[in-house]
């Protein structure tokens, strides 16, 4: 498809420090169609966190890359990811968003399945051959691949995809740093933020790992932060770096002036908060040593896992995934993640922190959405104004967190999957 297109998807020239992304990639229906097959059908996609299904029989239904998935914990306690469609005639089997069930009955003809997807019974069994129930084809079908890393559950529709741990590449170590905040495990806090942005999904990928936009896009948030903290001087400016983690994953890691429930105190949290934060910090030092404890507690991480998972370890801990519905429309699901052994005080401040900055009712995310939507509007001119520039920090030995290395890592992998054989006109794909 692209081979016949006169314009390449990326324009890269490391020697001249040029990295341009065709705006067509955000608007072209052909690109949108190809992404379904070449990106979303060939990646590991986040499904949910193990803590969402604490007990046997717990389930949630969730849409992942356009497929309805039934995510369950079966009677033996094993997590399952099933395609939510009846093997008989295709109806969606489970129509509830979440709950606990011993079995699932398709209401169309009454077939009943266990939480493991196995057919238990069907009306009129006598009219089926003996052994019908024992056939694999009589069961709800599992997703082609389902693997878990530190309670983060992923699925893939590509049966031949590499194992999840290999796919995660350098992102694995960052997930470890995040999960090592506690040795009591982490849980998703009840309450899902489900929203949408009228923009291409890749704009949210870029925005989630963009340390460059904060000062201007989030000016009002920093006004408020300035009035509630006195250490803004340590701020967003020079305190961090961006890293390419391989396979399209990327991260920025940096210091910031906001309070972190694990574990950076701010004056707004008072003396009671101070002793609590010190206790958490001392505990980290005991378990991990001073250097790693300092990194876990005082550094912030915006971690991106290709193609559509963001784990932000910032003033709160968020898990965010998003899916394209049209070239100019995406849906987003976001959750708060928190240590299981957190005090009521810390949990309250964590959620308070989360809502101040994050989410569609916060003081920052709506302005991100506005920016993305206005990029999408700007792309109306993409036939004449062809290129986005993401060259900031190119050629630096160690790009800063407000450079654009992270985006180059994403786009390089995107391009590799979209156009596996170098298409004519693409000069280079190196980041």
């Amino acid at each position: 498809m692209n081979a016949e297109h006169p314009q390449p998807a990326l324009l890269v020239n490391p020697a001249q420090r040029i990295f341009k992304v065709a705006r067509r990639n955000f608007v072209d229906p052909e690109i949108f169609k190809a992404e379904k097959e070449k990106i979303f059908d060939r990646s590991w996609l986040y499904l949910g966190h193990s803590s969402e299904l604490p007990k046997p029989g717990d389930f949630v239904t969730r849409k992942v890359a356009g497929r309805g998935i039934l995510f369950t914990r079966d009677s033996k306690g094993q997590l399952r990811a099933l395609l939510n469609t009846c093997p008989h005639r295709g109806a969606q089997v489970c129509r509830e968003r979440k709950g606990n069930a011993k079995s699932f009955q398709c209401f169309y003809h009454g077939w009943v399945f266990g939480a493991d997807g196995k057919l238990r019974s069907q009306p009129g069994e006598a009219s089926y051959p003996e052994g019908f129930k024992g056939r694999d084809t009589s069961n709800m079908q599992p997703v082609p691949r389902f693997e878990t890393y530190r309670d983060f559950n992923f699925i893939s529709f590509d049966g031949n995809i590499m194992p999840l741990v290999d796919y995660l590449a350098g992102a694995k170590e960052y997930l470890d740093v995040i999960c090592d905040q506690t040795d009591a495990g982490m849980s998703i806090v009840a309450g899902s933020q489900e929203y949408s942005i009228r923009a291409n999904w890749k704009l949210l990928t870029e925005n989630s790992i963009d340390g460059y936009h904060a000062a201007t896009t989030h000016a009002t948030y920093f006004d408020i932060l300035m009035s509630s903290t006195d250490n803004l001087a340590t701020g967003m400016g020079g305190g961090g770096y961006g890293y390419d983690l391989g396979n399209g994953h990327a991260v920025l890691e940096y210091g910031a002036p906001w309070g972190r429930p694990v574990a950076q105190w701010i004056p707004g949290w008072g003396e009671a908060g101070k002793s609590e934060i010190e206790r958490i910090y001392d505990n980290l030092v005991q378990r991990h040593g001073e250097a790693r404890a300092e990194r876990i507690a005082r550094k912030n991480r915006n971690l991106f896992i290709f193609p559509n998972l963001v784990v932000n370890d910032i003033m709160a801990l968020t898990v965010r995934t998003y899916f394209p519905m049209a070239p100019d429309y995406m849906v987003i699901n976001a959750w708060a993640l928190a240590p299981n052994d957190e005090s009521a005080w810390a949990r309250k401040y964590r959620l308070n922190n989360f809502l101040e900055f994050l989410g569609p009712g916060g003081f920052a995310t709506p302005d991100d959405a506005e920016a993305l939507e206005h990029c999408q509007r700007g792309f109306e001119n993409s036939k004449e104004a062809l290129w986005n520039d993401i060259s900031k920090g190119m050629g630096k030995e160690k790009p800063h967190h407000d450079d654009e290395l992270q985006m180059r890592a994403f786009w390089t992998q995107w391009n590799k999957q979209m156009f596996p054989a170098p298409a004519s006109g693409i000069k280079s794909v190196a980041a």
């Binding site: 968003r97 979440k98 806090v189 009840a190 309450g191 899902s192 933020q193 489900e194 929203y195 949408s196 942005i197 009228r198 896009t217 000016a219 009002t220 006004d223 408020i224 429309y329 849906v331 959750w335 708060a336 009521a344 949990r347 309250k348 959620l351 308070n352 989360f354 809502l355 101040e356 989410g359 569609p360 009712g361 916060g362 003081f363 995310t365 709506p366 302005d367 959405a369 506005e370 920016a371 939507e373 509007r377």
Partner: protein, 161 residues
């Protein structure tokens, strides 16, 4: 307190809606008590969920509500610059309980918001605890229970619901 009628409450709520539609937010803020809360829970939570232990869309105490108003009046609140146009319809107003110094009220709302050629609909129920003062009501608590599932396609709550 016993003499408060539904019409009194309606007048108060219609006035609140008008202040919001006219972006007179500093004036709107004076409708709240000093210990007020304004909350919008996520739509997959029970209606009485606590924002101390559950993730909401919005959980403002009076101080943050003040910051919200200050923010929305700035040019740098990009999501609302220029200000969207809104039209709020408030109805089905009911007084559910009368206490010594406050009443419990619910109303349903439908709010249309237009910006940059796109119109979105927000709808649901507002639950109020209204304190009675010598000069009228003050809002001690406003909990906005969104109808529908999530925020799609409206996407955000950059206005006050």
């Amino acid at each position: 307190m016993q003499s408060v009628t539904r019409t009194d409450v309606e007048d108060f709520l219609f006035n609140e809606a008008e202040l919001l539609d006219q972006w007179r937010l500093p004036e709107w803020l004076t409708l709240f008590t000093e210990d007020a809360r304004y909350e919008v829970p996520c739509t997959d939570l029970p209606t009485d969920a606590s924002s101390d232990t559950n993730l909401f869309y919005i959980a403002d105490d009076r101080m943050r509500l003040g910051e919200r108003v200050k923010r929305l009046m700035k040019r740098t609140a990009h999501a609302e610059f220029p200000h969207s146009k809104t039209s709020r319809i408030v109805g089905n107003v009911r007084i559910h309980a009368r206490h010594a110094d406050e009443i419990d009220v619910t109303s349903v709302f439908q709010t249309l918001r237009t910006k940059d050629g796109v119109t979105d609909l927000y709808f649901g129920t507002n639950k109020y605890r209204l304190a009675l003062r010598d000069d009228g009501f003050r809002i001690r608590e406003k909990r906005c229970l969104l109808g529908g599932e999530g925020l799609r396609p409206s996407g955000r709550i950059s206005i006050v619901l």
